[in-house]
């Protein structure tokens, strides 16, 4: 019983000492702010904590659905990640720079990212009719409306 409470005390002290703020000061590199296109109110397509852990699963799942089944929803699309998180300025950092949204974290965690050997690493303005500022749901509605007017 005494042992258990000691362990809890020690754990509590450790947690108290290593606060996120101090960790950011001492351990983490300074990650530059990405020029986000989405509004602060909208947020990411999934909770940030979830995205940090599982973004690769979402992207992988979407990748196979898009390629084999032609499902082109925007929620977990890599293109939309880039559209929202990477600046489209001409001098914006490329994926080989630590200031690129993806590479900033991938460099820190020492995980190589292969996506951008083939995929575009920054937004490209297309001549299409899609507005980049719509949510996936709005996008779907817009597409359904387009389809009806086309017919």
């Amino acid at each position: 019983m005494i042992k258990n409470s000691l362990i809890i005390l020690v754990l509590g002290m450790l947690l108290g000492v290593v606060t996120p703020g101090q960790a950011a000061d001492s351990l983490l590199p300074e990650i530059p702010e990405a020029q986000a296109r989405f509004s602060e109110a909208q947020g990411c397509v999934e909770p940030t904590d979830d995205m940090r852990v599982n973004h690769m699963q979402y992207i992988l799942h979407q990748r196979d659905q898009t390629m084999y089944e032609g499902i082109r929803t925007r929620q977990h699309s890599l293109v939309e990640c880039i559209n929202c998180h990477v600046s489209d300025a001409p001098d914006a950092p490329r994926v080989d720079s630590e200031e690129h949204f993806c590479n900033s974290c991938h460099t820190y965690t020492a995980v190589s990212v292969d996506c951008f050997q083939c995929h575009a690493d920054r937004p490209v303005k297309t001549s299409g009719t899609h507005s980049m500022s719509t949510t996936p749901a709005q996008h779907l509605q817009a597409r359904a409306a387009e389809a009806i007017t086309n017919e």
């Binding site: 089944e69 083939c118 575009a120 490209v124 086309n150």
Partner: protein, 248 residues
């Protein structure tokens, strides 16, 4: 006698009934196909109810015109490196010359999107595949760049990427060490639009290329195929190509 005439009338009623039922069936899928082809929502998978195809009228294809090739290169960001032997080409103009008469005609050659694609047969990793709606693609995530498919394709439709690339189009990811070919502009087709080459050909009023659903008897391409004679290139291979040609 009266029994026989009764049987006859039963038969007639039965046959009449079935014909009506069959007619109803054939109209209903037609309507359904039309809807699928033009308004498939973004979150629904493609089905084999649609088979995309192309009809090229070589009689309308001017010998010196390369609008379709230019449109394709622009759409997918295909840039040459000054090495024509290895530069990527998804669509190219091929010249045919009758040696006896000297008559020359040209036609655009692209992936024929076969029903039985040899490139898919030979692929050792399963990267080469055919979508449910008949579009033949390469899954570049699992392509190892062996180029068996390039050897197997009777139409020389595929290219290998030899150089590291940058600034690819978001809708057309391309990378060194993989094989690629015409995708029938799958990103446009999924969006209810026509391939870039067809759009360019139509925009310039050449109208030599028609794109549509081969399974839909009401589609423009199906009607034209029914009205005019057309042929598959290397039909002897029984690949049942999705691209057909008129006037050759």
């Amino acid at each position: 006698m009266s029994d026989e005439s009764n049987i006859d009338s039963y038969r007639r009623r039965f046959l009449g009934g079935t014909t009506a039922a069959v007619a109803g069936l054939s109209i209903a899928p037609g309507v359904l196909l039309h809807e699928v082809a033009h308004a498939r929502p973004a979150d629904q998978a493609v089905t084999s109810e649609v088979r995309w195809g192309m009809l090229i009228d070589t009689g309308k294809c001017a010998n010196d015109c390369t609008d379709c090739v230019t449109a394709c290169n622009d759409e997918h960001g295909l840039e040459g490196f000054g090495r024509p032997e290895t530069d990527a080409q998804w669509i190219r103009k091929v010249s045919l010359k009758d040696k006896q008469t000297g008559h020359t005609q040209t036609l655009p050659m692209l992936c024929q999107h076969c029903e039985h694609p040899p490139c898919v047969d030979v692929c050792p990793t399963g990267a080469s595949f055919k979508r449910e709606d008949g579009i033949v693609l390469v899954d570049k995530h699992i392509c190892i760049g062996c180029r068996y498919c390039m050897m197997a394709c009777p139409y020389k439709a595929r290219s290998f990427i030899h150089e590291s690339l940058q600034d690819q189009k978001p809708h057309a990811p391309r990378g060194k060490g993989t094989v690629e070919s015409c995708t029938f502009c799958v990103h446009r087709v999924d969006d209810g639009r026509k391939p870039a080459c067809v759009e360019a050909c139509t925009a310039e009023n050449h109208n030599a290329m028609v794109f549509g659903d081969l399974n839909d008897p009401a589609s423009d391409i199906s009607r034209q195929l029914e009205q005019h004679s057309s042929r598959q290139i290397r039909a002897d291979l029984n690949l049942n190509t999705g691209v057909r040609y008129r006037g050759i």
